[in-house]
Structures are given as C-alpha cells and as structure tokens.
C-alpha cells in the first residue's frame, strides 16, 4: 500500500465522519460547525484528485461563504426564539429512510464498480480545441468556450436566485438595504481585521481571475473571494450594504450576464450562438471573465446578505 493510497483513505474517512456528524449531531450549531469542516475536507479531496479549479471553488464557497450564510441563518432563527427540537422522527420513518438510502448507496456503489477500467475522457479533445484559442487552462476553456451556454445560463440563474430572495421583501422596506446595520468598536480588533484583510483579499481575487486563463482559477473562484471580502467589510462595520434600488449596483449585477449574452448573440455572425471569432477569442474570453467576476461577486455577496430589512 502506497503512502498516497493511505492518505486518500484517511481523507475519505474524515470526509465521512464530518458528514455523519453534520447529519446526526444532536446540537444544530455543532452540525453547522461540522458542515464547515466538511467543506474544508472536500476541498482537500479535490486537491488529491488534481482538480485544483474545483478545489479553489470548494475552498471559497464550501469552507468560506456557506459557513457565513449558515451561521447567519442560525443566529437569526436563534434570535427569533425558534425551537431547535421537535418530536424525533418515528422509528418506522428511520427504518424506511435507512433502508432507502442504504439501497441507493449500494446501487450507486455497484454502478461505480461496474464501470470499465481505463478512462480516456474528454481531455485530449479539449486540449486539441484549446490550441488555437490562447486559453491554456482547460477548465476555463470549457467554462467560457465549448460549454459557454452552461456558464451563461448559470450566471443568469444566480441573478434569478437573488431576485427570488429580494421578492421576499415586505412592501414597507422595498428597495431598501439588506441585512442588519452592522456596528463595531472603531478602534477594536474586528475593525482592524476588516481594514487589513480586504486589500489582500482584493489582490488574491484579481490574481485568481488573471491566473485563470493559464492555471487553476477563474471568474467563479475570484468572484467568491471578492464577495467574501465585501461581506467582511460589512461585518466589520466599515461600510454598509448599498440599497438594492441603487442603479450602479443593479448595473454591476447584470453587466456580466448581459455582456456574455451580447457577445454570444454576436457570435451568430461568425457561425453559431456563443461562437467567438478565432482571432479575438482570447481577448473576448478575458473580457467576459473579468466582467463576470464582478457580477458574480456582487450577486453572491447580496445572496448571503439576505433579504432587504431596512427602508432606503
């Protein structure tokens, strides 16, 4: 048994333990803490699978933003005095749930084991196509070139999800500011942390999107990091959230998907929807990627901030 296999086996055990404790832990806050830990472990699994692009996304989202989102939700429910306990699930329900999920797991395991060994995958095809497009990170190539319609749809899904969250706003505060007004001691540790970290986070975010065309990174990872940085600025009380009726904010939110769509439709002129003219492909992909980064950052930050709570 090689060291690599032992490491992977240990990592899989920790992933399963974290998931089990996030599912079955008695304390709700403990379950959320384990879910954050679980995100970190999953990010390590992606590193082991040499899927560094996914690892970056999981580190930023699973271990970063989701934790803030869940703890914020837990705190809100706690303050509303919502009981955490309920009548426990009936014995027969546990039995049915256990056998159903057990059966599904066994079917999936059988399916995985039945797959033929030796996979070629689509990597050679992607590498061949990328050769004349200037983007050497295959994942970015897939996201913004071959399967650009997935990415386009996804950037629209994000905005739609935000609109759905905003739709829960009561009429009295419509167009107002999301979340609570955050305040801190001006010379305290949190305010200092909120001033020191964002410049570094901004550099890391820009680095990730810049690096994304030739090595792991890209609009989603960078957008998530920038969103997290903005959330810290808000939590440290340094700057309040903008009102959702702000025209500038709304422009940033739709700029990425709109530009993507416009360039995609213009692609009809050279043959197909979302086709780029070969000589401009690199420049267009970079342009879309940078614009998309800021739209994704704004959308994710507002999704985590939640619905509007204060009048404009």
């Amino acid at each position: 048994m090689s060291a690599a296999f032992l490491l992977d086996a240990g990592l899989c055990l920790l992933i399963l333990a974290a998931a089990l404790l996030a599912m079955a832990g008695r304390d709700l806050f403990g379950a959320i803490a384990f879910f954050i830990v679980y995100g970190i472990m999953i990010a390590l699994a992606w590193v082991r699978l040499e899927a560094v692009d996914v690892a970056l996304a999981e580190a930023a989202i699973g271990a970063g933003l989701t934790g803030v989102l869940l703890i914020g939700a837990w705190a809100m429910l706690n303050r509303l005095g919502v009981p955490e306990d309920h009548k426990p699930a009936a014995g027969w329900l546990r039995l049915v749930a256990g056998s159903a999920s057990g059966a599904i797991t066994i079917i999936l395991v059988a399916a995985v084991m039945a797959l033929p060994a030796g996979r070629e995958g689509l990597a050679p095809m992607v590498a061949e196509e990328l050769a004349d497009h200037g983007v050497s990170n295959p994942v970015t190539g897939v996201l913004l070139d071959f399967r650009a319609y997935d990415t386009l749809m996804e950037s629209i899904v994000l905005v739609v999800a935000l609109v759905a969250v905003w739709a829960l706003t009561p009429p009295a505060v419509w167009g107002g500011v999301p979340g609570l007004r955050q305040h801190t001691r001006p010379d305290g540790v949190l305010a200092m942390f909120g001033r020191l970290l964002p410049p570094i986070g901004l550099v890391v975010g820009v680095y990730l999107v810049w690096a994304g065309s030739s090595q792991p990174g890209g609009a989603f990872q960078a957008g998530t990091v920038l969103a997290a940085v903005w959330l810290l600025v808000v939590m440290a009380g340094i700057h309040d959230e903008p009102p959702v009726s702000s025209r500038l904010l709304r422009t940033v939110l739709v700029a990425g998907p709109a530009l993507f769509l416009a360039i995609g439709i213009a692609g009809l002129g050279v043959g197909a929807l979302l086709a780029y003219p070969a000589e401009y492909a690199y420049a267009l992909i970079l342009l879309i990627e940078f614009t998309l980064t800021f739209s994704i950052a704004a959308t994710l930050a507002l999704l985590v901030a939640g619905r509007v709570r204060r009048a404009p």
Partner: protein, 95 residues
C-alpha cells in the same frame, strides 16, 4: 521525498481528527467554532504539503483561499453573539 510529504499530510489528518473530537464535544459554541478554525489551519498545512509532493504550485492557491477565508465563520459567529445580532464583543469595554 514525495512519500515523506504524503505521510506528513497523513499525520496532519490524524491531528485534524483529534480536532474533530473538540468540534463534536464542545461544550460551548465558542469551542466548536474555534476548533473548526483549527481544522482549517491544518487543512492549509495539508495543501502546502500536497503542493510540494506533486510539484504543482497552484495547489498553494487553495491554501491561500482557505487561509484568507479561515476567520469568516468565526467572525459571523462572534457578531451573532451580540445583543442585537450585529455588534462586536469589544464595544462595551472601556477605552
């Protein structure tokens, strides 16, 4: 060298597993969230070792993102413990 680095990463996973116990036992919420952050620090160290083991410098970026966002959950928790859910534990102290 690769085998050493991978075994070192495995050793770190074992210390992370010890951290799991504290996240599980608590007893306070502060204990749970602080040990979750400790697991994060261990995770950062694992990414550095894996980067050296595979010679892939981009893996350090994963550690960079983990380290950058390590404090966020704890900050969100600390804010939620204030009376109005939006404060700072240091606000009530004297100058």
């Amino acid at each position: 060298m690769t085998a050493f680095l991978l075994l070192a990463a495995l050793f770190l996973l074992a210390t992370i597993a010890l951290g799991f116990l504290r996240v599980h036992r608590g007893p306070s919420r502060a204990d749970r969230i602080a040990s979750a952050q400790l697991v994060g620090t261990g995770g950062v160290a694992v990414t550095l070792l894996l980067s050296a083991a595979s010679g892939n410098g981009a893996i350090i970026d994963v550690g960079l993102v983990l380290a950058l966002l390590a404090a966020f959950a704890a900050v969100a928790f600390v804010k939620s413990t204030a009376a109005d859910g939006a404060g700072d534990p240091e606000e009530d102290e004297g100058p």
